[in-house]
């Protein structure tokens, strides 16, 4: 049974984790880290690490895009880690328990977005009255009293009451049921991987997925080796592929204008921009965060009525990927400095660029670099490597903070000259290809390494086993069922089956087939 103190710590962890997930996004809130920390709270960091790694694989393909809220894994990881450690169950059991919690967590997030709309209106009225300091304070505290608090309370209650509830039914359910959950969990992870693959499912991606799978399943190469090997292959393709010259950026003739922000002022704006989503609301999404980020610049150049009017421009609807939002903010600041920032131009800049840049940012982040870092980290976690959570966190800090800072700098120094650039593609897609190749390979490697579906079906004659079906399958190809599990899920998702329904269906299928002894899985 979890003590009240343990439950409190878990609640606090969930509070901080959700804040981190929404705001600075340095990957501290990866499931691997949360499982690990919950494990420490419950005295078994290794078991927590296993649950965390499992969850990162499971939720890999459930991406958060454009203000839609899919099932959220943070509190699900914390609560299920606690329960699984208390009951001394394998990490896979957490998968089944995590669903309802992750869905509830998403509902709580949506509820908070609706309540935050109230904060948004309050910020409007404060700005109209010129009470900017209070408005900033409301943005800074909004989410702390809604979104993150809800998650904290839910985690506290879940850990405190959940383990008792699960313990109560634990004895009443036959052990074979818990074993079948391992099979079910691995089938569901197949769907999780498929959710990611369905979006990038093109012939070249399929090829690299299969190569990654083969290297893991046939040659048993470790995940990191596969990533490095495929990175080398990608680099070869990248450097030998012909570049179409038409895509090269046209040289901008004018020199970038002298910029006026001191480096400490610039850094403060960067820090503020990390809080873009703190009071995310369903009516205008990141509007208050954008205003909060740019406000020091507005204050520097405007006063009185003008400051109010310019603030209002930035309290209008805004929605972008937090990383690719940075160049827009940078350009906007440059525009104000140069004295050309009419309300209309600023509106056009934000509305015209936020969508396309969000499209680019989401595609790059969710399907390339993040996948590689998380898969490698989760694999380390499943091997019981305590470095795993810090590997993921470090990767997040380098890539997310690095990209945000550089893009803000780029937007700011280039300013409006960015808009005059004739073509912007300039071969950036090729870098993307590089990451997609490695990403697809490591997902293939996960299928070959961690998914371990097999059939225990045997035929007996005169008291001796005469034929094992799995032997026949292995003769065709090792890990055939794991591959079928994943590829069939990609097929069904691409045929329009909804992700959630498919996950539930595969889970039920796994429980039934597992219970009947037709399908089994090698535990992690």
């Amino acid at each position: 049974m979890a003590s009240l103190f343990q439950a409190f710590l878990c609640g606090l962890l969930a509070y901080v984790a959700r804040w981190e997930r929404v705001n600075p996004q340095s990957a501290f809130s990866s499931s691997t880290m949360l499982g690990f920390l919950t494990g420490i709270i419950f005295g078994d960091p290794l078991a927590g690490l296993m649950v965390g790694g499992t969850m990162d694989l499971l939720y890999l393909g459930i991406v958060e895009i454009g203000g839609a809220t899919p099932p959220r894994p943070e509190i699900a990881t914390i609560i299920t880690s606690g329960i699984v450690i208390e009951l001394a169950q394998p990490a896979e059991v957490a998968v089944a328990l995590s669903f309802p919690i992750a869905i509830l967590a998403a509902q709580l997030v949506n509820l908070a977005f609706i309540i935050n709309t109230g904060y948004m209106h309050y910020i409007d009225s404060l700005v109209a009255k010129g009470k900017f300091g209070t408005a900033e304070f409301v943005h800074l505290t909004g989410g702390l009293t809604t979104e993150f608090l809800f998650q904290g309370v839910a985690a506290f209650l879940g850990v405190w009451l959940g383990s008792a509830a699960v313990s109560a039914i634990y004895g009443a359910v036959p052990p074979a049921f818990w074993d079948s959950l391992i099979t079910a969990a691995q089938l569901v992870i197949c769907v999780g991987l498929a959710a990611l693959l369905r979006t990038i499912w093109k012939p070249e991606v399929v090829a690299f997925y299969l190569i990654g799978f083969g290297l893991a399943a046939f040659l048993h190469l470790p995940m990191v080796s596969i990533a490095l090997l495929m990175g080398a292959v990608a680099l070869y393709i990248f450097t030998t592929k012909k570049v179409e010259t038409t895509g090269a950026p046209e040289k901008v003739e004018e020199k970038p204008k002298e910029r006026k922000l001191s480096s400490s002022e610039f850094f403060r704006i960067f820090l503020r921009s990390l809080l873009l989503q703190n009071t995310f609301n369903s009516e205008r999404m990141q509007a208050s965060g954008y205003w909060f980020s740019i406000f020091p610049v507005l204050k520097k150049y405007y006063s009185g009525k003008e400051l109010v009017e310019n603030s209002k421009v930035h309290l209008e609807f805004y929605n972008n990927n937090p990383v690719t939002s940075e160049p827009i903010l940078g350009m906007n600041i440059a525009m104000i400095e140069e004295g050309v920032a009419t309300p209309e131009l600023q509106r056009n800049l934000k509305a015209g660029l936020m969508g396309p840049l969000a499209g680019v940012g989401d595609a790059i982040w969710w399907f390339t670099i993040r996948v590689i870092i998380l898969v490698l980290g989760a694999s380390m976690a499943l091997q019981g490597n305590l470095v795993a959570p810090f590997f993921i966190w470090g990767g997040g800090i380098i890539f997310i903070f690095g990209a945000k800072y550089l893009l803000l700098r780029y937007g700011y120094t280039s300013g409006l000259s960015l808009l005059k650039t004739a073509e912007v593609t300039g071969g950036i897609e090729r870098y993307l290809d590089l990451f997609t190749i490695v990403g697809a390979s490591v997902i293939g490697a996960v299928t070959g390494t961690w998914i371990g579906l097999y059939t225990p079906i045997e035929f007996m004659h005169a008291g001796a086993v005469i034929f094992k079906l799995q032997d026949a399958l292995d003769f065709i190809m090792p890990q055939l069922l794991s591959l079928i599990g994943t590829v069939s899920a990609v097929y069904l998702l691409r045929r329009g089956v909804s992700l959630f329904k498919l996950m539930v269906a595969y889970m039920l299928l796994g429980i039934v087939l597992g219970y009947l002894g037709l399908l089994a899985a090698v535990p992690f």
């Binding site: 015209g352 399907f367 912007v424």
Partner: protein
């Protein structure tokens, strides 16, 4: 006229399009359509930026879009900012079975009718005209979301709306 999907979304191209819808409807090209945005240099710039992630996209006025749709053999996803543009496309020959409503941001005069959609009365009536042309109007942010009848939603929020 190969329209894989027509969607009303005032962010036009963005993450939900590039990461979810394109592959779901199996489209290989995006047309961003609107008479005003086709002339807006920043919007045109935005389309160029969107090509970074390897997406084939173009920006057209309604008239040009219709002409290009007629000639094209691609599977095209059509994105419009507002229901008026969708209506004029449909009235002038763009063939679709259903119109996807994804996102229309709040501004003064609009009323929030769904999680991500705010409309004023004129816009609501335009959606109704689309419905009356035999096109289902469906609210669906992402392929994984359950589709819901957007006209029913509008009826709850605007009284003087009727379907013929």
């Amino acid at each position: 006229m190969p329209i894989a999907l027509m969607r009303v979304d005032d962010r036009l191209i963005h993450g939900q399009i590039t990461c979810a819808w394109l592959s779901f409807v199996n489209a290989n090209k995006i047309y961003v359509v609107g008479d005003l945005i086709a002339k807006d240099p920043i919007a045109i710039m935005g389309i160029k930026y969107s090509k970074i992630s390897g997406i084939d996209s173009d920006i057209f006025s309604v008239k040009d879009a219709l002409e290009n749709l007629k000639k094209s053999t691609d599977r095209i996803m059509v994105l419009v900012k507002d229901p008026e543009t969708a209506l004029s496309l449909i009235e002038n020959g763009a063939k679709i079975d259903w119109l996807d409503v994804g996102q229309i941001g709040y501004k003064e005069g609009r009323k929030q009718v769904a999680q991500t959609v705010s409309v004023n009365e004129d816009e609501a009536k335009t959606f109704l005209k689309i419905k009356n042309l035999g096109v289902d109007v469906i609210y669906r942010q992402l392929p994984d979301h359950n589709p819901s009848d957007f006209i029913e939603t509008l009826k709850k929020h605007f009284k003087n709306i009727e379907v013929q």
